[in-house]
């Protein structure tokens, strides 16, 4: 009985008392320790110089473990990627856990260990954090809120509003893996697939791309809403149109098959380790070359270009040579995939 109790997170773990300290020291500090976190002060105090990129995100994925990742890895990589999409070098994260009472301590530890590995791979440190435990039913196992900061190198100006007519659109790899991998584990919807989430940190890839061309205009990671939604956002922010070619967009056969079965369009399925770059035409080939040399950009491809007419539109040339509009996602395609 005692063992069972010990393996469960209780409301008392969020009380600020002894159990809370046990949790912080036993789970979080043990795995994530660094000089900032070890001080256990109310704030992390950091010296900075340069332009700061600052982002926040929340993770509510269900299930919390899925092929190729878990909520912890997703939280670290997702936050790091948001920083990287501003052209920043990701440095520090905050993590805030909202835990449903009854979560197994072992599951929490598994998530924290995964956070440790992910932070190491992404070369970031978790410098501050918080834990709350809520009544059963008030959360679904575990929610993680993050913030992240990074430094933007001199001369880099990446923004969704920077796309210019004539620019090329580069996609870093096959789309839809994450959304379909998570969905395949859903209760009531398990279908068997070898597919794993593409969940990956893109800070290194972005640094190499910016080293090859500091003139990169836009970067975006097509997470929820998929590639179609990211391209629509960029077209609207930059007041340009984006024309893509269906046949140039890499999609795995398994993803296509699952999409057919479920009635989805892979253009709208989430990714967690992919990016879209909008690059001046003259620099496109050299950016593509460094991307393909990076493990997270091996199947990168130029998928289209930016045009002046019909601002705000995304148009796709289909495999039949016809063209059609690619609209933003309407409503909810896949609930809680990140």
């Amino acid at each position: 009985m005692e063992k069972v109790l010990k393996d469960k997170i209780l409301l008392a773990h969020g009380s600020g008392g002894k159990l809370a300290h046990e949790l912080v020291e036993g789970s979080f500090l043990k795995a994530l320790s660094n000089p900032f976190l070890a001080k256990l002060d109310d704030s992390a105090v950091i010296d900075f110089s340069g332009r700061l990129a600052f982002t926040t995100d929340s993770y509510v994925v269900s299930p919390i473990f899925f092929p190729g990742g878990d909520i912890g890895k997703l939280a670290v990589f997702g936050t790091v990627n948001d920083l990287a999409m501003a052209g920043a070098r990701p440095l520090y994260l905050s993590l805030s856990f909202i835990i449903e009472e009854g979560l197994a301590q072992s599951e929490l530890n598994q998530v924290v260990n995964s956070i440790q590995q992910a932070a190491r791979e992404a070369a970031v440190e978790v410098v501050t954090g918080d834990t709350k435990v809520v009544h059963r039913g008030s959360a679904d196992k575990l929610f993680i809120n993050t913030a992240g900061v990074g430094i933007i190198p001199e001369g880099v100006d990446v923004s969704g509003g920077n796309a210019r007519p004539g620019d090329k659109v580069i996609l870093s790899g096959a789309i839809g893996d994450h959304g379909i991998a998570v969905l395949s584990q859903r209760e009531g919807l398990s279908f068997s697939t070898q597919l794993e989430s593409d969940c990956a940190p893109l800070g290194g890839l972005v640094a190499e791309m910016l080293a090859a061309s500091p003139n990169i205009h836009c970067l975006r990671d097509p997470t929820r809403g998929g590639l179609a939604t990211s391209l629509n956002e960029l077209a609207k922010q930059s007041k340009v149109s984006i024309r893509i070619e269906e046949e140039k967009i890499p999609v795995r056969e398994e993803v296509l098959a699952a999409c057919e079965m479920l009635g989805f369009d892979p253009l709208y399925v989430a990714n967690e380790g992919k990016l879209v770059a909008i690059v001046p035409a003259g620099d496109a080939e050299k950016v593509l070359k460094v991307m393909r040399a990076n493990r997270y950009g091996k199947s990168a491809a130029i998928i289209g270009e930016v045009k002046a007419e019909h601002p705000g539109r995304v148009v796709m040339k289909t495999c039949l040579g016809a063209s059609r509009i690619v609209d933003m996602l309407v409503g909810d395609l896949l609930p809680r995939i990140c």
């Binding site: 039949l320 059609r324 309407v330």
Partner: protein, 364 residues
């Protein structure tokens, strides 16, 4: 063989497209019955690549779209009865009835579960013995056998809390009704692929024989549709009208006997109300007497309230193929996928949604 990418290859498409251009001399009008085909046609821009001799119109083959408002109201009314769990395919959630949608009543606390198969609905019934689970049986011959199977399983397991609201529709009778109305003149029909996988190609013979209309059963990839159009053109230029199967990897002339047997065991034909077409004889399915204890309409006192059709919506005419979505004053203005007025803008297989999402006629 790769079953998807092989059927999207541009060099094969190019060959088919130029063959269609070469062969097609007579001006013709083809209807694709099925909403799934409509989506493929718009998603890949098939109308743009066909010669001007071929006029394509979309038909009523979207089960969500043809569900009458009165039936939607019944489903919504059921969700308001205490201790009822509604289990439904996701597409139904957003469809507006006379006053609200399942999505809205769900937000207000109704217990509505989205399921991907009837077996999920059975599981919900097993897991919640103190509640009643009503599965919304919406669909054509494609889904009816799986719902029949769930009823047989419920019977076998002695599940007393599983019910079906049977709003199923049958395709051949509605095509006959459409042709008899004389409103739309057709030279060729692209027959539904998944429906034919169940019923076979023989139930379409009357269209070729009685109405002289060429028929081809098609699959859902762009090459499937192009091949079907090419076969229709060939029939017409040869002055033939017969039923052919282009979708040989999915359809046999005799259909799926096992599925048909299940369907026949549990259901029997009945008149059904179609949006835009009114009541069509023998075009619906009701539970046979032996299985009536699974019938939600008999088990519960459903009070749907008065039924209204949305003002200005022409979904009915769009479904009959006599108008196109851009003939509608509401299209793209008062009626969009975010704020749909009629079901054809909601359903992923609806013509209005396909027009809107893929920008038919967008020259850019």
């Amino acid at each position: 063989m790769k079953f998807i990418t092989e059927f999207r290859r541009s060099e094969l498409a190019e060959g088919l497209i130029s063959q269609i251009h070469r062969r097609s001399k007579t001006p013709v009008r083809f209807m694709e019955f099925c909403g799934g085909h409509t989506v493929t046609i718009f998603r890949y821009g098939i109308r743009q690549v066909l010669p001007p001799t071929i006029d394509m119109v979309s038909g009523p083959g979207c089960p969500i779209c043809v569900t009458a408002n009165a039936d939607l109201d019944k489903a919504i009314a059921l969700s308001q009865i205490p201790d009822i769990i509604i289990a439904t395919f996701g597409d139904m959630l957003k469809v507006p009835g006379s006053r609200s949608s399942l999505q809205e009543v769900k937000a207000d606390g109704a217990d509505v579960h989205t399921v991907y198969s009837t077996m999920d609905a059975l599981k919900i019934a097993e897991d919640n013995p103190d509640k009643s689970v009503v599965f919304l049986g919406i669909g054509f011959e494609t889904t009816a056998p799986t719902i029949a199977a769930s009823i047989l399983q419920a019977e076998e397991k002695g599940l007393g809390n599983y019910y079906v609201l049977s709003l199923h529709k049958l395709c051949p009778p509605v095509i006959r009704a459409l042709l008899d109305s004389g409103e739309v003149k057709l030279d060729g029909l692209i027959c539904p692929g998944h429906v034919s996988a169940i019923i076979g190609s023989r139930p379409w013979e009357f269209i070729a024989q009685d109405y002289g209309i060429s028929c081809v059963v098609s699959g859902f990839e762009p090459l499937d549709i192009l091949q079907s159009v090419d076969m229709l053109v060939a029939q017409i230029e040869n002055r033939e009208s017969k039923v052919e199967i282009a979708y040989r990897r999915g359809v046999r002339p005799e259909g799926n006997q096992q599925a048909l047997k299940l369907m026949g065991q549990v259901f029997e034909p009945c008149p059904a109300e179609w949006r835009g077409m009114g009541e069509v004889p023998d075009s619906g399915l009701k539970l046979r007497k032996e299985y009536q204890h699974f019938d939600a309409e008999l088990a519960f006192d459903i009070v749907p309230g008065p039924c209204y059709e949305p003002a200005g919506c022409i979904c009915g005419e769009v479904l009959r193929g006599v108008k196109t979505p851009d003939d509608c004053k509401l299209f793209g203005k008062a009626c969009t996928p975010q704020y749909p007025v009629g079901p054809c803008m909601v359903s992923s297989e609806g013509s209005c949604s396909a027009y809107y999402l893929y920008g038919e006629g967008f020259e850019g």
